[in-house]
Symmetry: C2
Subunit: 498 residues, 2 copies
Amino acid sequence: LSGTAAYDQLCAHLRELAALEQVAGLLTWDQETQMPKRGAAQRAEASGAVAAAAHRLRVDPRIPEWAAAAEGCAPGRAGRVNVAEALRLHRRALRVPASLAADLGRAAAQGQVAWDAARRRSDFAKFVPALSRIVELKRAEADCLTDAGGDPYDALLEEYEPGIASRDVANLFDQLRPGLRDLRARIAAVAGPDRPGQARGRFPAEAQIALSRRLADVFGFDWSAGRLDLAVHPSASGTRGDVRITTRVNPDDPFESLYSTIHELGHGRYEQSLPEIQVLMPAGTAASMGVHESQSRLFENQFGRSRAFCDWLHGALRDAFGDTGLDSPDALYRAVNAVRTGFIRTEADEVHYNLHVMMRFDLERALIRKELEVAELESAWNDRFWQDFGREVPDAGRGVLQDVHWAVGLFGYFPTYTLGNLYAAELHRALCADLPDLGERLAAGDLGPVLDWLGDRVHRQGRLWPPAELIARACGRPADPATLLDYLETKYAGLYDV
Amino acid sequence: LSGTAAYDQLCAHLRELAALEQVAGLLTWDQETQMPKRGAAQRAEASGAVAAAAHRLRVDPRIPEWAAAAEGCAPGRAGRVNVAEALRLHRRALRVPASLAADLGRAAAQGQVAWDAARRRSDFAKFVPALSRIVELKRAEADCLTDAGGDPYDALLEEYEPGIASRDVANLFDQLRPGLRDLRARIAAVAGPDRPGQARGRFPAEAQIALSRRLADVFGFDWSAGRLDLAVHPSASGTRGDVRITTRVNPDDPFESLYSTIHELGHGRYEQSLPEIQVLMPAGTAASMGVHESQSRLFENQFGRSRAFCDWLHGALRDAFGDTGLDSPDALYRAVNAVRTGFIRTEADEVHYNLHVMMRFDLERALIRKELEVAELESAWNDRFWQDFGREVPDAGRGVLQDVHWAVGLFGYFPTYTLGNLYAAELHRALCADLPDLGERLAAGDLGPVLDWLGDRVHRQGRLWPPAELIARACGRPADPATLLDYLETKYAGLYDV
């Protein structure tokens, strides 16, 4: 087998694997948007069968053989990334015994059911057995993936954010926390518990969906390569020529679907703009979950919640719903940037959001490193919430039980949310420097030059660079927590006069 | 490994295989109803990856080992069917070399494109190279699957209709053909080329879809286990808890969607009513494509086009569309049973339909048996059409190019349509005997007892019996071509006074 032929065979194998992963994503999308309710049991078997088929491709012993034979023949940086990623996925899959992977799959399914029941009763004790089992299995998985002396949490983090160690994440977060706590406290002292004027009126589902579609046009979503549907949870799935976004509609609050949609459009536009030549290849995938989240947060916050964009949005809201009581772009800007110390991460404003994420990171890292046990988790959560947010958690439903992540074994995922915010702030700083008319463009709902800039520097780079390097190349300097803090200080000092 | 454990492992393997086959069906449904147009290339890779994964499960060498170890331990008839089907699928998959299977997949994809282009120009010569390649590969596949001295066409037929030899099919068809030719000619002599009064008026798409939903209720479709969507081609896919039907809407002719829907509901109700305990197991699948078609044709023709059901349908049409110009159930009955010698199988009435199918069977069987070459196919088609239908084929688009089956390698499928009609007529005879008030029920749109009868005797039998035996057990006697001829004679002698 020649080196080139070996590389070609490796690529065909990787495309087959990626195609199965796309099928897995489609099965989830279908389940959330199309599947009749009695299809659930069969769907679980279908998803399991596709996962098993993908696992078989990952552990194929020909992968290291092809990779060795292709040495020096893989074309360019993309070729080297494809070979390296193939080996990394192969080694990860081999290190976790099939029985452990199967146990994890079952524990995650049971975990979701147990979490759901416990959350409805706000009773953490009910969830302790299932969560303990998951933590035990995730610790075992992390041990399988960790070399002697390594931090076991890093192996889990690597799945979502390759190329960064958790001590570096902790270091970044340590630089962010004091400033965020301080800003939060200053605003809380003047803002009071009530939100400023929210939108009032009637917000029919059809009008909300129509507005979401208009937003998709503004944010460059390609309808010939994607779709938008309603679901219980907003999401984005699929890649390149078939990207599917879901949003939800709250009849009392148009901003819920509006900003969910803009957020998912950030993910969707990224996937649609990945390099076509590397479609279904590792080099053609998103750089990391953190970089993915940087796109969604940039769209949602730095663009969608900017004063400039509120000029455009104010007109669009009037077109969609008539009078909303928000009688100027300024009033709209205040409404969509209201700061309030709530308990729920997914409802948090820009000031509080990262405080939520960073406490979850510390707690889940301690769990995996065996510095914390599940039985102590609720009190650890509540203590930490008091420190960071200055409020008592009233019940587990609004505390430790609020997120599904741990219930289904997603450890190592949370920190990518705040890494995304760090990257988004740095990209925004660079964009403002490169595009002096950014504000006028946003006010006019014209994101063309912005999308071109992101396409060149982020989207079409695929996975060519580790996340931090990708951002540094795009922005001319590494992401700095001070940039995010400066952005928040400037914005919220202006809004709250603090 | 104990016999019981071996059987359990074999079952888990078979469920995984069936789950992947369900995924393949879902990918097709999604492609027809949901997928954005630029998703086609990725979808082809996804479908290929799922097909390859299913193939790997079929050729797993543990299948014969499990089957041998489970000898005598498989529970009941269903257990024996599961083991036998596992071995049959395994042997078939092993006998066709992977390279031939891959060539067939590619040739089918290219064949569809070539057929589409040739059909648009009505130019069979343009299609000859692609079809020749497919026939060559299907002949090779049939040879792989055929023991020395066997009929190669039988191996292809077995894929869709297990347990029947093509000489038996030919024998059944020989008994049917003279009566059908004779009935057709007698009607043509009095009917003229024009259809009797068709529906007139406006038929908005929404009203057609609402009527389709009402029909789904009448024909026992379980909405908690299925859905109905619009697509270019009517279809039914999925099984048990997740059955998906598509229909199409012709703004000028409400009967197109109406009878397409009823037809697909026959398929859908069958899949929803298969034995739950055997879901995703061979014993829990439909008995054959012929039996499947018997359910759809029974729903469509013996029920949906009956004089009694026209009492109910006449009211439902008035509810949906107001005045259609069909001012009585009798007028409706004549309109939906109009006989006309057309060229297109899918538009054919009950009298002509089987003549279409039987000529395709003879032609495709001759192709596979190397008694006919592709270059001679168009003239063979046109000669035969003259014999059976008494009209000259005006062009290839209305002749040899009308159906997609051969373009994508579906040889052996056509005869199941007429086997389905034979079975449907026999089931109808038995139903009339067992349910003396069948006519009153149909007139009232109450199919409860009919659905119970079919559920007991056909649907919940799954694949426990070979098709002919299943029908014989359900009806108390084997399917007889005379039953179908009697049904058609009685119905159409009354309608056309011949």
